[in-house]
Amino acid sequence: MKRQQFDSSTLPYLLIAPQLAIIFIFFVWPAAQAVYQSFMLEDPFGLASQFVGFDNFIDVVSNEHYARSALFTALFSGLVAFLSMAIALLLAVKADGILHGQSAYKIMLTWVYAVAPAVAGMMGVFLFDRSIGPLNHLFNATGWPFNPQLDVFDASVTVILVSVWKQISVNFIYFLAGLQSIPRAVREAALIDCRNGFRRFWTVTLPLLAPTGFFVLVINITYAFFETFGVIDTMTRGAPGGGTATLVYKVYQDGFLGADIGGSSAQSVILMILVLGLTIVQFRVLEKRIHY
């Protein structure tokens, strides 16, 4: 906050009122509703409901589909974050190192940012299609009996590939900005002290890039959790057999398509706690570990 501030009794309230109104109506109210419903059991017609304590939570956690979805979400998020960050970092380091054509590469590598996850998923549908998809033909030609409609592993490969493809651009932008904010003096000193490019990267560049890296990791996990909904809904809809349904997709499937309001709300609340935990960890780590 500023040292110098205005003193006014009503103006700040007026200024902040629209934001607060929207947050109360469309955020606090629904979130409270989710918590309330997670403790209630509603009959299928939505006519009556009764308090059931933690029953919904116990049902959710002991459900084997939910455990499978949690495992898939963890693997999926980890792989998407790791692959898209690794590829983007490689490209950013190379783009940062070259002198000619840097801005051309920059433009070509950044604009995929603007493609919606759902549109990316739709493209995936065609590229992996059994009869018309070139990638399907390619995989089959290598002797891999690729069949995402029936095989969970193959289906996971398709959603992971598309999700990674969509996220490389954003990561590239952040990594390149991070690299370019490393002071010239530090780079030159490192160049003199350490001739080996690869070692220089590990011992000088990477530690200096850690704050950016951590920030990008958080963004990627959030992306893999929530924004990939569009990819999954267009490509697999959680099929085959719920094998590619992330936790967020399951909230939608069970609540909206399956009309299990109590169970879906309990899943929402679990996700809220999970995200809250992630945020706390994020702040702890940001405060303590990465300071240069």
Binding site: I16, P30, Q33, A114, V115, P134, H137, F215, M272
Partner: protein, 280 residues
């Protein structure tokens, strides 16, 4: 040294191809006849039916009500993208102004409420949000489409960070010259935030345009369909046809990504700046 640079370029070119080839294949295939795609698979070079496909997608009415075409869906997406970005900027510039520049008792309490909205994306609370919006009678309306999406306070945070980086002396000087809170905001702070506002506008437009889940839940009336969710409709239709209209589905995908991509390409510098600034 020379050889190392060559591999660098090769890696970068490979990266560019990896990102752009899928989009190219989608576009190239959309200019062929559906029979060609069905028989020979997706195409890698442009065909002769660009105009036929795109005019059919843009202007021919389809859907259950026979009243939707891509022009209508693009218009809805534009309304969503603009409404979302303008709404967010209007609300967040003044809210952040109140938080940073005013001393008022409930200030930090409000700040934490706003902050908490960042923690839980819409995806986590879709069903109760849907119920709230339906209770308010906002289903199938632009208000219901846009307002709940604005509830997340990302832009407020960008502006809060930005205002905090504005030097103290500016406010001191303005006060000595007798500027009140209104004058200071309109004549000094807003002009200072111009680039920041442009950057956030671009980012938010893309985010708004690309919304998928919320429009699916919100709209049952086809006249409110956006182009990104129109894709889902097309996907359902594909299975029903004797000869799947692949060309039209591909063309619609291409049309859905074209406007946000153009915006990002044209305003590249601002958009990158906005993204990078938001990190701090």
């Amino acid at each position: 040294m020379h050889r190392i640079k060559l591999t660098d370029h090769l890696i970068l070119i490979f990266g560019v191809l990896f990102l752009l080839l899928p989009i190219w294949v989608v576009f190239a295939s959309s200019t062929h006849r559906p029979e060609t795609i069905l028989n020979q698979g997706l195409q890698f070079w442009i065909g002769d039916y660009f105009w036929e496909t795109y005019s059919a997608v843009l202007f021919d009415n389809t859907g259950f009500t026979e009243a939707v075409n891509a022009v209508l869906m693009l218009k809805n997406s534009l309304i969503l993208g603009l409404g979302f970005s303008v709404g967010k900027i209007l609300i967040s510039t003044i809210a952040a102004y109140a938080i940073v520049y005013f001393r008022f008792p409930a200030g930090s309490f409000f700040f934490w409420i706003i902050f908490s909205s960042l923690l839980l994306p819409l995806e986590v609370r879709i069903i109760p949000s849907y119920e709230v919006v339906s209770k308010l009678g906002m289903l199938n309306s632009y208000t219901g489409l846009i307002l709940p999406l604005i509830a997340s306070a990302t832009a407020t945070f960008f502006f809060r960070q930005f205002y905090k980086s504005v030097p103290e002396e500016i406010l001191e000087a303005a006060r000595i010259d007798g500027a009140g809170p209104f004058r200071f905001f309109v004549d000094i702070l807003l002009p200072l935030s111009k680039t920041m506002i442009a950057a956030i506008f671009i980012i938010m437009f893309v985010v708004g345009w690309n919304q998928y889940l919320w429009p699916i839940l919100m709209t049952t009336d086809e006249s409110y369909f956006t182009v990104v969710m129109g894709i889902k409709q097309i996907l359902n239709d594909l299975e029903g046809n004797r000869i799947p209209q692949y060309n039209k589905a591909l063309a619609l995908s291409f049309l859905a990504m074209l406007p946000p991509v153009m915006v990002v390409l044209i305003f590249q510098r601002w958009f990158v700046k906005g993204l990078v600034e938001s990190e701090k």
